[in-house]
Symmetry: C2
Subunit: 177 residues, 2 copies
């Protein structure tokens, strides 16, 4: 194949995101990621011991980026933080396909990965702070945001722009308070 990367590890994570955005978690595979990068199907195993650990690295990155997106959205809307965060969640997940079903995927439960643990904890902590430490409000807001994201990814809102859906999700989140 004769293709060399400066940093295949990082490229694998990037390509994983592309695959998730295009086809979702159900179609994610190490082989498909390798194909996308035009490396052999064995190459990824030099950087990740197995499929679950690659997915774990994706989860950690998604948790980090999602948290950043939410924090930025709150900073832009200080009076409407939680709703803005819900909107940011929808925008991020619709764009990347990497929502809580990836970040907290059941197949990752027994994968020990300190980086992922740190990023997911930081994400949860931030979300809890945004909810004023109201766990019930947090879960309801997360349900709305995840629900809207899923409806988009499932193909329910084919003619609606992402901006519209983000707005409606934020409206729904606001109504919960």
């Amino acid at each position: 194949m004769g293709y060399h990367h400066g940093d295949l590890r990082a490229a694998l994570i990037r390509a994983s995101f592309e695959l998730l955005a295009e086809s979702g978690l159900s179609r994610f595979s190490v082989a498909a990621v390798a194909r996308r990068l035009k490396v052999s199907s064995a190459a990824p195993y030099r950087h990740f011991p197995d499929r679950a650990h690659l997915l774990s690295a994706v989860s950690a990155t998604a948790a980090h980026d999602l948290r950043e997106a939410m924090v930025a959205a709150v900073a832009r809307n200080p009076d409407d933080g939680l709703a803005a965060a819900a909107g940011a969640y929808v925008r991020y997940v619709v764009g990347t396909g990497a929502g809580i079903h990836v970040i907290f995927a059941a197949e990752l439960y027994e994968v020990a990965d300190d980086c992922r643990r740190d990023q997911t904890r930081a994400l949860m902590t931030t979300m809890l702070e945004l909810s004023g430490s109201d766990v019930r409000l947090l879960e309801a807001t997360l349900a709305v945001a995840h629900g809207y994201s899923s409806l988009v990814l499932e193909g329910f809102f084919t003619k609606d722009s992402v901006d519209d859906v983000v707005r409606r999700a934020a409206d729904a989140a606001r109504a919960l308070q």
Copy 2:
């Protein structure tokens, strides 16, 4: 194998539900359903031309049963219909694993199946009526119900009883109105 069924077709649909409830759509396969019923992996293909058509029959059954569950819940709570329906959605989906991600699965889009089409249309019509033909309210309520269901199936509420989660989902749905 030497095992004979009176009605393998119906048994396949039932076993598919068991599989969905235990392992979710991602682990669903014709082979696994056949194993569960102790018939050969070829037997299902006498009753369904392919995997998608079996899943389509499951989708039709789920749409029918879910609609019935929602209608019954509304009848028990005439003053609080939409929230009760949202609670019934969560209860049904948590129990069966067959929510909108199964009923409206993308892999079924090009499967022609009049039965499924009728059942999914009836389900959507009923839900729209419950929302007073307010499409925005319907989508928000569905997002909440689907969101809570997903959080349960994803393992977020491990120590909470289903009844509790159903109540909280109904509370959240009520807040949207």
